[in-house]
Amino acid sequence: MSPLIEIVNVSKAFTIRHNRSNSLKSSFIGIFHKRFRETKETLWALKNISFNMTPGETLGLIGRNGSGKSTLLRIIAGIYQPTQGQVRFPNGTRVGAMIELGVGFNPELTGRENVFLGASIHGLDRREVEEIYPGVVEFSELDSFMDVPIKNYSSGMHARLGFALAISLNPGVLLVDEIFAVGDEAFQRKCIQRMEELRAKGKTIIFVSHAAETIKNFCERACLLDHGSPVFLGAPSKAIEEYHRLLAS
């Protein structure tokens, strides 16, 4: 099968600025005083990542904090530009990144208004939002709260609405970043169940998690990142083993 996502030698450098000047004054003073001068340091958050994904595959990304998982996810989503290398998709693939739940939600707006705003942030038009709306309400179980400003929601309700929306956006490729750590256990089970359904339907999913069990149960392959480099790519159970060895060392 021809690959859906081709990640070719992707590297990402961030410039860390000490004494970072965000104002003209500090830039100006920096000309005369060394102490105030901006110094730059390059940090390679990702080094030479390459892999392909076939349609319908689920891939887990694991690694310690700061290993580059979220950066990689953002590059695949197109939020960051890779410093080197390329991410290739067939034309017209819609990539949905669930980096955080309820992105763009405004506390003053009602649940309904937030669903419409949140969905349009992901590029849906009016007709598409109206199509998914009933499903969002049903999954979130917030039918009687849709006309309430979400500042009055509990954090669980907030998360439910965010997840319900995210799961209904129906992108071609789904990028999921550690978002199951929300809600109570029943809701978490419901989320995992919904993800299982999506996978069964043949959705391509990249999944970031620290939870070894979830990765093992859910993913067909896993990629272990350490300091931005791909250390291991293959069977999830093996990847978890490597990950634990890395944590112990």
């Binding site: 104002s23 003209l24 004054k25 989503a77 530009q81 405004n106 705003l117 349009s120 590029g123 009016r126």
Partner: protein
């Protein structure tokens, strides 16, 4: 410019504008009337100072003022708000991929909506009160407005992008707008100025827009061909330059905000 892409996000632009309008007026009893209070009070105070104290003899001065001050407010508030268009939406830009152009566009449209609402309410009232009937020259309004929006959009793109790298731009814009206000013929008629000063006033691009509005509503004539040519070239130039700067910076927004 990737116009089809931005166009496909028109629902988002609409929702962003509606959100700002809703948030501005929700929970306030007088709601939209507050938007009228600001220009009305300004007109009242300036009219008193300039006609009673300084004895300016522009006929129907409050009407003259109204015609100039509403588009000025649209322009100035768009520019002030666009300093935050990218910076204040950093949370979103770092988490979702979307064409970042939508934010300055939404800022300008939000202020445009306020301008048009205020104009729709105040202009007919003032026109009746001061016996200044609207003539067929009103047709020219839509052309001038469209060019004014394009001109403002270009500057908003520029300001939104530059503020990401230099937060000072916000303060600079504030002071610059104050200076520009007095260099724009809003509370004085450009025709009463001596020749040398008139040239100075027309160094300010915005003067062409404001005097065009005054031609249409106050003098009830269409702006001259030279004037229109100036509007066309300035708005084209503004959008082109503003967008070039914006799009050359935009890949770095997610990392910088």
């Amino acid at each position: 410019m990737k116009i089809p892409l931005i166009f496909s996000y028109r629902e988002l632009i609409k929702n962003l504008v509606l959100k700002d309008l809703k948030l501005k007026y929700r929970d306030s009893t007088l709601g939209f009337l507050w938007s009228l209070a600001n220009p009305l009070l300004l007109i009242l105070v300036y009219s008193f100072v300039f006609t009673r104290m300084l004895r300016v003899d522009t006929p129907n001065f409050p009407y003259f003022l109204l015609v100039g001050i509403l588009p000025w407010n649209f322009f100035a508030q768009s520019l002030m708000m666009s300093t935050g268009s990218i910076v204040d939406n950093g949370g979103l830009i770092r988490k979702v991929w979307l064409p970042v152009e939508v934010f300055p566009i939404a800022t300008v449209f939000f202020n445009l909506a306020q301008y048009l609402l205020a104009l729709a309410v105040l202009l007919p009232m003032a026109s009746f009160f001061f016996h200044m009937p609207l003539s067929w020259s009103v047709l020219g309004f839509f052309v001038v407005l469209a060019l004014h929006v394009i001109f403002t959009l270009g500057l908003s793109f520029f300001i939104a992008a530059v503020t990401v790298f230099y937060r000072d731009v916000k303060h600079f814009t504030e002071i610059f707008l104050m200076l520009l206000f007095w260099l724009t013929p809003i509370i004085y008629d450009v025709r009463v100025l001596p020749e040398s000063l008139r040239t100075t006033v027309y160094l300010n691009p915005l003067s062409f827009f404001i005097t065009s509005y005054q031609d249409i509503f106050y003098r009830q004539i269409l702006p001259g061909p030279f004037h229109l040519l100036a509007l066309f070239s300035m708005s084209g130039l503004s959008l082109a330059l503003g967008y070039i700067v914006f799009s050359s910076c935009k890949v770095r927004f997610a990392e910088e905000v």
